[in-house]
């Protein structure tokens, strides 16, 4: 009781507890004491002067008033333990500079590669998504079944879009787009200026109802409603008319005048369509004719439809056969000259299907496209490459960390003795690894920004890092970085923190056997990836070389090709004679198409009954063509000025085979659908060895070569040249062209270069793949380098003893290399089947491909072994030449 009384008595004198606690909480520690002292003094005076109650109120008031910025505790940015983790992580990074540099730089390169590839993949998958309602827009594509084969077209007949729009209410809009097949350049005259336009497409007035292009000038609803109206892009308007408004301005093509009825924003690069000018399809007479006669045979333009919301692709696609039956069959039967009863048996069919517009860029590779599309397999390939590179950087991290566990063991032992729990230690190591991955990420942003311009050149895109400046992506990246840091750091953290402190501190801890198994398997995995990628790269290059050197059936070297030769008109022969006078010109040939150019179709029948119709490709050539291109005649003769060959034809071996002719010379090629003034049969006078008119992706098709009369005007010239001074010759040819007073500038180049453009996308993939393969192998070697450093260091004493006992330097280098070599050999063996299957699959996408040869695969293995040896040799040799006195004395 007495104690309580005293306690109560003291309580009266004491200031209230709550505000004291409050002050303790918010005030800086250094000032709490003196302030509480002052407050208490005042409180006691106040109790005496004014009574306890008033004193308490004043006390509260004074304390609350003290909450001022300079008095408040600084809010700590990080909880104190985390700060401690970061501090020790930072110190440990500084302490082992070599280790940190290897780790951070490896991860930096890895993340930078990922960023680059992610930007690339992001761009590839973003195609055509910028159109409004792009998920409801489809292209109608055609699966054309011929009696002998099947072809897929991205294009469809002229009257498809109006028919759909008229008869199918579930389709909201349907528009058409046309690309000129035989000509890629149009000459535009504005006053005295001439522009050569190679991005000139044609559309109907509904096109802008399907695709939401933004009109800067003009009205989309009537932009293309007359044959002489055109819509141009913003940058074209600038080129043509400067900064003046372009609306209602005019330009000339030949003698026709066209009026600009709209200016739209430039077509984004990530669209499957690319154009600068859109003319009206009504300005193309052959399309008008096809529309009038309601032709459903020729897929001459692209039909785009926008389905109403809620209508599925499948449900509308299911109605397309019925549409062909109802609206197109009459035309098909009459143009194919088949009766309705015979049609099902004839082996002909037109099957239409829908392609979502968003998928065209990555998934469509049909016979007629607006421009070459990409391939989703490349996107998958690159994603796989990214994954590999990331895995390798994580493995480097894990390997280095476990190899270093001996070094960290003492630190861990001491920490444990001082009371650190295991969870805390794991957190500390995770902090360290996350710090590394964060630093690496920041560095990799810089690195990416640095190499992005070069990478853009390589992939011919305009990628920008700004894509990343999106809150969701930033958050995603951050999570990804922490994930990498945690995944890579978790295993070492668990292993190192499990060390028994008593053993470590007694100095008995030995790492040589710890985690060796895991380390070795990770190395095997790394080199398995590296070897696979090197093999892939070597095979890719081999296929590229194969395609470059493949005997195409003609001599592509030293041939100059001139386009748009129809400009010469009736002067073609005169021009040819002038060319032949030039120094270095051997032969000159006019033709409808040179190899690589677009060619037409011709349906051919055999004399022999029951042989199915053959759909051939045909090209009109003059008497010099075969000699100029140095093609090989295997039977009969080439065209010659000595004969009248207008009713004769030269076939290739495939055609002869398909028509069933063993001895084709003198046999007939029958023409079932003769055009006006065209013969119903042609006589075979020669057989040319199969040659590659198209790219090596496709098989050699049956071909017919027709002879043209001397008077025909043809669009291409091939010139066989033989000179050391090409520049002078090209200049000479250009001068001649000008001398003929042709307004249009000459467009010419070497056939070889043009053909290699057919493989541009393969070459690009090859380059990207080579680049990232190099990165992968370098990273694997960097990891190996770091590992070699630690392993050799651990064996210093052993090597010293060996040297004392008489081992030579060569011996020791061998001993140190043999372990790694074994691992790499195992990787090599594992990689063989995978490489064999994977590369075989890829090669089979080429109609003509090289074979997988063991030498290339062994070469890849050897290359890896040599690289690995070079990598570890630095440390092996360094330690092998060390004086054993130094390594043994230090105990």
């Amino acid at each position: 009781m007495g104690k309580d009384a005293i306690y109560l008595d003291m309580e009266i004198d004491q200031p209230p507890k709550q505000p004291q606690k409050l002050l303790n909480w918010f005030c800086k520690d250094e000032w709490v004491d003196e302030l509480l002292g002052d407050l208490e003094e005042e409180f006691k005076d106040n109790v005496e002067a004014k009574g306890r109650w008033r004193a308490v109120v004043t006390y509260y008031k004074q304390v609350l008033l003290l909450a001022r910025p300079h008095i408040l505790k600084r809010k700590e940015k990080t909880p104190s333990m985390l700060r401690n983790y970061i501090k020790s992580a930072y110190r440990s990074l500084l302490k082992n500079k070599a280790y940190s540099i290897i780790n951070i730089s490896g991860l930096t390169v890895g993340i930078a590669c990922c960023l680059l590839i992610s930007l690339y993949v992001y761009d590839e998958t973003s195609y055509d998504k910028f159109f409004k309602d792009s998920d409801r827009i489809y292209r109608v594509a055609l699966e054309r079944i011929y009696p002998t084969n099947t072809r897929f077209f991205g294009s469809s007949p002229v009257n498809m879009a109006p028919t759909i729009l008229e008869n199918y209410p579930e389709v909201e809009e349907a528009g058409r787009l046309h690309r000129l097949f035989f000509q890629n350049e149009i000459v535009v005259d504005i006053g005295d200026k001439t522009f050569i336009e190679d991005q000139y497409l044609f559309a109907d007035n509904n096109f802008f109802k399907v695709f939401s292009f933004e009109f800067l000038e003009g009205n989309p609803s009537s932009a293309l409603d007359a044959f002489n109206k055109v819509v141009i892009t913003e940058s074209t308007a600038k080129r043509f008319f400067g900064d003046d408004p372009a609306l209602n301005k005019t330009y000339q093509i030949d003698t026709s005048t066209y009026i600009v009825s709209g200016v739209i924003e430039d077509v984004p690069a990530n669209s499957h369509m690319a154009f600068e000018i859109l003319g009206s399809i009504e300005s193309l007479s052959f399309l008008n004719r096809a529309a009038e006669t309601n032709s459903w045979i020729n897929p001459w333009l692209f039909t785009y439809i926008k389905l109403k919301g809620g209508v599925s692709q499948e449900s509308f696609q299911a109605k397309l056969p019925e549409m062909v039956e109802n609206y197109g069959m009459a035309s098909i039967l009459s143009l194919l000259n088949i009766s309705a009863e015979d049609y099902p048996e004839s082996g002909n069919d037109f099957k239409y299907f829908l392609q979502p517009v968003e998928d065209i860029h990555l998934k469509s590779n049909l016979s007629v496209e607006i421009r070459p599309n990409s391939d989703i397999t490349y996107v998958y390939l690159l994603i796989a490459v990214v994954a590999f590179i990331l895995i390798i950087s994580c493995i480097n991290f894990i390997n280095l960390a476990t190899a270093r566990s001996a070094e960290r063991a003492k630190e861990v032992g001491v920490r444990k003795v001082l009371g650190s729990r295991r969870a805390l230690l794991i957190r500390q190591f995770l902090t360290e690894s996350n710090l590394i991955s964060l630093v690496a990420f920041l560095l990799s942003l810089g690195l990416t920004a640095l190499v992005l311009p070069k990478f853009n050149l390589l992939v011919s895109k305009e990628l920008s890092l700004w894509v990343l400046a999106d809150p969701v992506i930033v958050l995603g990246l951050f999570v990804g970085i922490l994930l990498i840091g945690s995944l890579a750091g978790l295993y070492p953290a668990v292993v190192i923190s499990s060390i028994n402190s008593a053993i470590v501190l007694k100095g008995k801890y030995n790492t040589s056997s710890k985690g060796v198994w895991l380390r070795n398997s990770l190395i095997v995995f790394q080199f398995f990836i590296s070897i696979s990628m090197i093999s892939g790269m070597l095979m890719l290059n081999k296929q590229m070389r194969f395609m470059e050197n493949k005997k195409l059936g003609f001599n592509k070297e030293n041939v100059i090709a001139i386009d748009q030769a129809q400009e010469l008109g009736l002067q073609q022969q005169a021009f040819k004679n002038e060319l032949l006078n030039l120094e270095g010109v051997e032969k000159v040939s006019y033709a409808f198409a040179l190899p690589g150019n677009f060619i037409g179709n011709f349906i051919a029948n055999s004399e022999i009954p029951d042989i199915p119709q053959v759909r051939t490709f045909s090209v009109a050539i003059d008497d010099e063509y075969i000699q100029t291109l140095e093609m090989e005649i295997v039977a009969g003769r080439a065209f010659s000025p000595d004969f009248n060959d207008s009713l004769n034809v030269i076939v290739n071996e495939t055609t002869a085979f398909l028509l069933g002719y063993d001895d084709p010379i003198g046999k007939k090629v029958l023409n079932p659908n003769p055009a006006p003034n065209q013969s119903t049969e042609f006589t075979i006078v020669g057989v040319v060895k199969d040659y590659h008119h198209q790219s090596l992706h496709t098989e050699i098709p049956p071909m017919l070569l027709f002879n043209t009369s001397q008077r025909a005007i043809l669009p291409r010239i091939g010139i066989r040249v033989n000179t050391a001074n090409t520049m002078a010759l090209l200049k000479g040819i250009e001068d001649q062209w000008k001398a003929f007073d042709i307004e249009r500038p000459i467009s010419f180049g070497f056939l070889e270069d043009r053909l290699s453009n057919l493989y541009a996308s393969d070459q690009q993939t090859g380059k990207i793949f080579t680049l990232f393969t190099a990165v992968t192998i370098i990273m694997a070697c960097v990891g190996l380098f770091g590992l070699a450093a630690y392993v050799t260091q651990q064996r210093t004493k052993e090597i010293g003893v060996r040297k004392v006992l008489g081992a030579s330097i060569t011996n020791i280098v061998m001993i140190l290399s043999i372990n790694f070599t074994k691992l790499i050999l195992i990787s090599f063996l594992i990689s063989l089947p995978l490489v064999y299957l994977g590369i075989g699959e890829w090669l089979s996408s080429f109609a003509y491909h090289t074979s997988i040869d063991p030498i290339t695969l062994i070469g890849a293995g050897l290359l890896t072994v040599v690289l690995a040896w070079l990598t570890i040799s630095y440390y092996s040799i360094k330690i092998a030449i060390l004086n054993p006195v130094n390594s043994l004395r230090s105990e």
């Binding site: 000032w31 003196e34 002052d38 004074q62 008033l65």
Partner: protein
């Protein structure tokens, strides 16, 4: 640290420190100002001024003078630095001179 301008409150606090030395600490300064000027200042505002003046080099402080009344806690005892003394003298001189001129007109 040359303070070209001193507020009225700062001047009062400086003078109080000079007057109360060596027993100048926040509470005693507050009492001094209350008795001389009749103005009641909160501990917070006096502390703020003291902190600022010390930061600017006009005052210096040390801990000491624990007492039972304070619950055994130390006081922060302030004193003028050389610079502080000079500032007070300067202010005084300026006012004197101005007074003299006002008187003579």
């Amino acid at each position: 640290m040359n303070r070209s301008f001193i507020s009225e409150l700062e001047e009062l606090v400086l003078l109080s420190v000079g007057v109360l030395h060596p027993e100048a600490y926040a509470y005693s300064i507050r009492l001094e100002i209350r008795s001389q000027v009749g103005k009641s200042l909160s501990l917070a505002s006096v502390h703020t001024v003291l902190y600022r003046l010390e930061k600017d080099g006009l005052l210096k402080s040390e801990l000491g003078g624990r007492s039972e009344k304070r619950g055994g806690r130390s006081k922060r005892l302030f004193s003028l630095t050389q610079h502080g003394e000079k500032t007070v003298e300067d202010i005084h001189a300026v006012r004197q001179a101005m007074w003299a001129r006002m008187q003579s007109t």
